[in-house]
C-alpha cells in the first residue's frame, strides 16, 4: 500500500510537470511567497536570535519598562477586542433580528472605516474631544485628555469593528431559524433562546472576532503614534527603536515578542475555530427568522446603535469640515488652502506616488490571490496548504514587522556568486527610490484578502463545470479564462477593491520604507498630524477617500460585481 501511494504522489508530480504553464505559475507563486513574505520574516528571526539579539531578549524580558509596554499592549488588545466585538455584535444583531428603520444607513456607516485612512478617526477625535476639542471644550467646557488608553480603545474599536460586524452578521443570517422555532415550540422565552441557543451557536464567531480585533489592535501603529501619548505599546516602541535609535536588532527582538501573540491567534483561527464552527453545518436555513418584538429591547438596541452611527458620522463629518477651515476646531473660516497644498503643493507628490504604486500593486495582488486560491482549491499536490499558509502570513504578521523584515532582508542586494538575484530594495540608493519595496509590501498585505475571497468563491463552483470544459477538449488555460474567471468575477472585484483600499490606507508596513524620492500619503498625513496641521491632514484624508471611491468605480466598470451567469441573464 505504501508503495502504491508513493507512486501516486510521484504520478501527481509528473502530471504537474506535464502542464508546463501550471508549473511556471506555481513556481512563480512559490517564489513570491518565499521572497516577499517568508524571507523578511526569517530575517527578523535570524537577527533577533543572533549574538547581539539574544542578550537583548533577556534584557527586555526582565526590564520593568518593557514588561510594562507588553502589558499595555495586551490590555489595549483585549479592550479593543471586547469593545469592538460588542459593537459589531450589536450592529449585526440589529440588521438580522430587528425590524427597525435606517438599517441601510447603519450598514453603510459600518463599512466606511474600510476605505478611510487608519488614523483619520484618531485625528478627528483629537479635534472633537481632545484638550481643546470643539465638543469636549467647546460645548462641555472640559479639558479632556484623550491621549492614552481610553482614546485608543474608543478610536480603534470604531475603526476596526467592520470585520466583526460582517463576520457575525453572516453567521446570524446562516443560523437556521428552525432552531429558534423549535426552542419556542418547546416553550422557551426570547431571552432564554438568546442565552441558550443564539449565543452558543455564535460563540465561535464571537471568539474569532475578538481574536481578529485583538491582533489588529496590537499590530496597529498609526493610532498609537497619534493618540498614544504616554501610553506606550510594542508597535510604537518598535517604531522608536528603529526611527529614533536606529537599532534594527532591538526592533527585531521586539518584533518577535509582538509576533508571538499574532501568530498564535492566526494558528488558532485557522486550525481550531474554523473547525468548531457549528453554524455552517446546518446548511440551508428553512423558515423565516423571527424578529424581536419587545419594544424596550428593540428600541433600546436601536438607540444604542444609532448613537454609535451618529458618533461615526460626527467624526467623519469633522474630517470633511476640517479640510475646509483654516484651523480645524479653532478657526472656522472657509479655505481651500489645504486642498491646494495636497493637490498642487508639496503634498501632490505623495498623492501621485501613492496612487501610482497602489495602482500597480492592486491588479498584481488580485491576480496572485486568485491564482493561489485556484491552485489551493482545485489542484492536488504536496504542500498546497503551505502555500496558502505562507500567503496568509502577509496579513497575519503585523505590518510593522513586515516593514522591519524588509529593511533587514533587502538592505543589501541578494547575490548568488556574482549574480544579483534581488537588488537592494530599501534604504538609500534603493532601486526605484524604494518604490519596488513599497509595491511588494502593498501586494503582500493585499494578497490574503483576494486569496480568501477567491477560495470562498471557487468552493461554490462545482468542479464538474470545469471538468466538463476539459472533457470537451479545452485545456487548463482556456478553461480558466472562459469558465472559471467569469464565474468568480465577484471575488476578483472584491479582491481589487480591497487591495487598492488596503494599499492606499496602509501605514505600519511602509513607514520604514519611504525614501526622499518616494512619498506616501499616509505617512504625510502622520507628519501633518504630528505637527498639528490638522487641516492638511484632513484634506489628505478626503482626497484619499475620493481616490479610493473613484478606483472602486473603475473596477466596477472593468470587472463588475456579477458573475457571468447573472450578468448575461439580466442583459436579456
Amino acid at each position: 500500500m505504501q508503495g502504491i501511494r508513493n507512486s501516486q504522489q510521484a504520478k501527481q508530480f509528473r502530471a504537474l510537470l506535464k502542464d508546463p504553464l501550471l508549473l511556471v505559475v506555481l513556481l512563480f507563486l512559490i517564489f513570491f511567497v518565499v521572497v516577499a513574505i517568508l524571507l523578511p520574516i526569517f530575517s527578523i528571526v535570524g537577527e533577533s536570535f543572533s549574538e547581539e539579539g539574544l542578550p537583548l531578549f533577556r534584557r527586555y524580558v526582565t526590564d520593568p519598562v518593557y514588561q510594562n509596554i507588553v502589558l499595555n499592549t495586551l490590555v489595549m488588545g483585549t479592550l479593543v477586542g471586547a469593545v469592538g466585538t460588542g459593537i459589531g455584535f450589536l450592529f449585526a444583531f440589529v440588521q438580522v433580528k430587528l425590524d427597525v428603520p435606517f438599517k441601510r444607513f447603519m450598514h453603510f456607516v459600518a463599512l466606511v472605516p474600510v476605505i478611510s485612512p487608519p488614523f483619520a478617526l484618531a485625528t478627528s477625535a483629537i479635534v472633537l474631544f481632545g484638550r481643546s476639542g470643539s465638543i469636549s471644550r467647546g460645548i462641555f467646557g472640559v479639558r479632556y485628555d484623550i491621549y492614552g488608553l481610553n482614546g485608543l480603545v474608543f478610536v480603534m474599536a470604531l475603526s476596526f469593528f467592520t470585520i466583526t460586524y460582517l463576520n457575525l452578521r453572516g453567521m446570524m443570517e446562516a443560523l437556521d431559524p428552525a432552531l429558534d422555532e423549535a426552542a419556542i415550540n418547546l416553550g422557551a422565552s426570547r431571552w432564554r433562546i438568546f442565552r441558550t441557543v443564539t449565543i452558543p451557536m455564535l460563540l465561535p464567531g464571537i471568539a474569532s472576532s475578538f481574536l481578529l480585533l485583538f491582533v489588529e489592535a496590537i499590530a496597529d501603529l498609526g493610532n498609537p503614534l497619534v493618540l498614544g501619548g504616554n501610553y506606550e505599546v510594542l508597535a510604537t516602541r518598535i517604531y522608536v527603536t528603529i526611527i529614533g535609535l536606529y537599532n534594527p536588532t532591538g526592533a527585531a527582538v521586539l518584533s518577535i515578542i509582538l509576533l508571538i501573540p499574532s501568530l498564535l491567534v492566526f494558528v488558532v483561527q485557522r486550525y481550531w475555530i474554523s473547525r468548531i464552527s457549528v453554524v455552517s453545518v446546518t446548511g440551508k436555513p428553512a423558515g423565516t427568522p423571527q424578529t424581536i418584538k419587545n419594544p424596550y429591547v428593540k428600541w433600546g438596541l436601536f438607540a444604542v446603535v444609532m448613537f454609535i452611527c451618529l458618533l461615526v458620522v460626527l467624526l467623519y463629518g469633522a474630517i470633511l469640515h476640517g479640510a475646509f477651515v483654516t484651523v480645524p476646531g479653532v478657526r472656522w473660516d472657509f479655505t481651500l488652502d489645504h486642498f491646494d497644498f495636497v493637490l498642487n503643493g508639496i503634498g501632490s507628490q505623495a498623492m501621485r506616488d501613492t496612487t501610482v504604486l497602489s495602482g500597480i500593486a492592486t491588479p498584481i495582488a488580485a491576480v496572485i490571490g486568485i491564482l493561489i486560491a485556484y491552485i489551493v482549491v482545485r489542484k492536488q499536490f504536496l504542500g498546497r496548504d503551505l502555500l496558502d499558509f505562507g500567503a496568509m502570513l502577509g496579513i497575519a504578521v503585523p505590518g510593522t514587522i513586515i516593514g522591519i523584515g524588509y529593511i533587514l532582508a533587502f538592505n543589501t542586494p541578494i547575490m548568488i556568486g556574482d549574480v544579483t538575484i534581488i537588488p537592494k530594495l530599501t534604504g538609500g540608493q534603493a532601486i526605484f527610490g524604494g518604490a519596488l519595496a513599497i509595491v511588494l509590501v502593498y501586494i503582500t498585505r493585499s494578497v490574503p484578502a483576494a486569496l480568501r475571497s477567491g477560495v470562498a468563491s471557487l468552493s461554490q463552483i462545482d468542479p464538474a463545470i470545469e471538468e466538463a470544459s476539459i472533457s470537451l477538449g479545452a485545456d487548463t488555460v482556456r478553461t480558466f479564462r472562459k469558465i472559471t474567471l467569469p464565474l468568480i468575477r465577484p471575488a476578483l472585484f472584491a479582491g481589487l477593491v480591497y487591495a487598492f483600499a488596503r494599499s492606499m490606507t496602509t501605514i505600519s508596513a511602509i513607514i520604514f520604507l519611504t525614501t526622499p524620492q518616494t512619498k506616501i500619503m499616509t505617512q504625510q498625513i502622520l507628519n501633518e498630524v504630528e505637527n498639528g496641521r490638522y487641516g492638511n491632514a484632513f484634506a489628505y484624508c478626503v482626497i484619499l477617500v475620493a481616490i479610493v471611491l473613484v478606483a472602486i468605480g473603475v473596477f466596477y466598470a472593468l470587472v463588475g460585481t456579477k458573475t457571468g451567469a447573472e450578468r448575461r441573464t439580466k442583459g436579456e
Binding site: 502530471a15 506535464k18 470544459s469 470537451l472 458573475t563 451567469a565 441573464t569
Partner: protein, 363 residues
C-alpha cells in the same frame, strides 16, 4: 450486436485506484483490479450500489483520475497518462455541469470552438444537434431558464456534438423526476442506437441498466462481480450479490442428489429438478438456489408444500405475496392478477415453481 462487429475499442487492464482515506494515513481502494473490454459501438453499463467505484472507473476512463496500477488502451494505444482534454471522449455529468454564464448555443458550441472549428461549421453542427435533441428555438436561453429535463438535453447535445469516439455518462438521469427519467431513458436509447456511438453508462438503477444496455458490468466494493447481457445477468447471476442486486430473488436450500459434467440433479421444496452446475458441487450436500418471485406460483393443491400467506399486496400489474414456508419467507409475484382471485393473508396454500427457472449459486 452481432459477433463480427465485436472489435475491442477500449481495454482496461488490471486497474487499481486508491484514494487517501479520511485519516490521511491509509487508503481507500475505490477500484480494485478491474479488467474490462469495451466493444466498438456497444452500450455498456457499470451497475452497482453507491460507493462501489463506478464513478471512479468512469473518471479513470475519461482521464480525470490516473490509476495507481494498470493500463488503459484505446484501440491498442496506451492512454493511461493522456490528459482528459486530449482523449476523444465526452462525459455527461450527473448534475449536468452546464456553463451557467453561457447560452444554450454557447454551451453546445464550446467544445467545437475549443477545436478552432470555423464559425459557420460550428453553427451548422450546433443547430443540427440541438434539433436532433429537441431543443431548437432555445439557443438563446441560459441554463437557469431551463427545466431539469431541458438542461439534461443540453448536456447531452453538448457531448454529442463533439462526435466523440466514446460517450461517457455518470448517472445522467438521477436528478430527474420519475416520469421524465423514463422519457429521457428511451430518448438516450433511441439516440445511441441511431448514432451508434460507443457508450459507457454509470447507474445504480438496475431497471435503467437493463433497459439501455447491450452489456452490464455489475460492480461491488471496487471489483467486477459479473459481466453479461441483461438477460444473462438476470437469469444466471454468478453470485448471490448479483442475484440480490438485480431484481428480487428468493434463496432456497436444495440437496444435491447427483452430478454429471456441467449439470446436477437437485431436490428443491420436495421436487426433483435438473439444472446447470458450472462449478464443483458434492453429492449429498445442501446448496443454495435462486428463484425469481415470478417463477413461483400459488395453487390450492394439497400435494404441494404448504405455506402461510403473511402479506398480500395488490399492485395493479401484479400481486405480491410474502409466504412463510417453515422458517423462510418467500416472495411470490403473480403477474397476471386477472387470472385467479387474490389469496387472503393468513390463508394456507400450495407453492409451486417453474423447474427451468431454478438457478444454482455458489456459496
Amino acid at each position: 450486436m452481432n459477433e463480427q462487429s465485436k472489435q475491442v475499442l477500449l481495454k482496461l487492464v488490471d486497474i487499481v485506484k486508491e484514494f487517501p482515506d479520511r485519516s490521511g494515513h491509509g487508503a481507500v481502494r475505490a477500484v480494485d483490479d478491474v479488467s474490462l473490454d469495451i466493444y466498438d459501438g456497444e452500450f455498456l453499463t457499470l451497475l452497482g450500489p453507491s460507493g462501489c467505484g463506478k464513478t471512479t472507473t468512469l473518471r479513470l476512463i475519461a482521464g480525470f483520475e490516473i490509476p495507481n496500477l494498470g493500463k488503459i488502451l484505446l484501440e491498442e494505444r496506451d492512454i493511461t497518462q493522456q490528459p482528459p482534454n486530449k482523449r476523444d471522449m465526452a462525459l455527461v455529468f450527473q448534475n449536468y455541469a452546464l456553463f451557467p454564464h453561457m447560452s444554450v448555443y454557447d454551451n453546445v458550441a464550446y467544445g467545437l470552438q475549443s477545436q478552432k472549428m470555423p464559425r459557420a461549421q460550428v453553427k451548422d453542427k450546433v443547430t443540427t444537434s440541438l434539433s436532433i435533441i429537441g431543443l431548437a428555438g432555445l439557443e438563446g436561453r441560459r441554463p437557469n431558464q431551463l427545466s431539469g429535463g431541458q438542461q439534461q438535453r443540453v448536456a447531452l447535445a453538448r457531448s454529442l456534438v463533439m462526435e466523440p469516439r466514446i460517450l461517457l455518462f455518470d448517472e445522467p438521469l438521477s436528478n430527474l423526476d420519475a416520469k421524465l427519467r423514463v422519457q429521457m431513458r428511451s430518448e438516450i436509447h433511441r439516440l445511441q442506437r441511431s448514432l451508434g456511438i460507443t457508450s459507457i453508462y454509470v447507474t445504480h438503477d438496475q431497471v435503467e441498466a437493463m433497459a439501455l444496455s447491450d452489456r452490464i458490468v455489475v460492480m461491488n466494493k471496487g471489483k467486477i462481480e459479473q459481466i453479461g447481457t441483461p438477460e444473462e445477468i438476470y437469469r444466471y447471476p454468478k453470485t448471490r450479490f448479483v442475484a440480490d442486486f438485480i431484481g428480487r430473488a428468493n434463496f432456497l436450500p436444495a440437496t444435491v442428489s447427483s452430478t454429471q459434467n456441467g449439470s446436477a440433479s437437485l431436490t428443491v421444496m420436495g421436487k426433483q429438478i435438473d439444472t446447470r452446475a458450472p462449478f464443483e458441487i458434492e453429492v449429498g450436500t445442501v446448496v443454495t438456489v435462486m428463484l425469481r418471485p415470478e417463477a413461483l406460483t400459488l395453487r390450492v393443491d394439497a400435494s404441494l408444500p404448504q405455506g402461510v400467506i403473511e402479506q398480500a399486496m395488490y399492485l395493479g400489474t401484479e400481486i405480491e405475496y410474502m409466504v412463510r414456508l417453515d422458517d423462510i419467507v418467500i416472495t411470490i409475484v403473480d403477474n397476471d392478477p386477472r387470472k385467479q382471485h387474490m389469496f387472503a393473508e393468513g390463508e394456507t396454500i400450495g407453492i409451486d415453481f417453474i423447474p427451468e427457472a431454478v438457478h444454482l449459486l455458489p456459496d
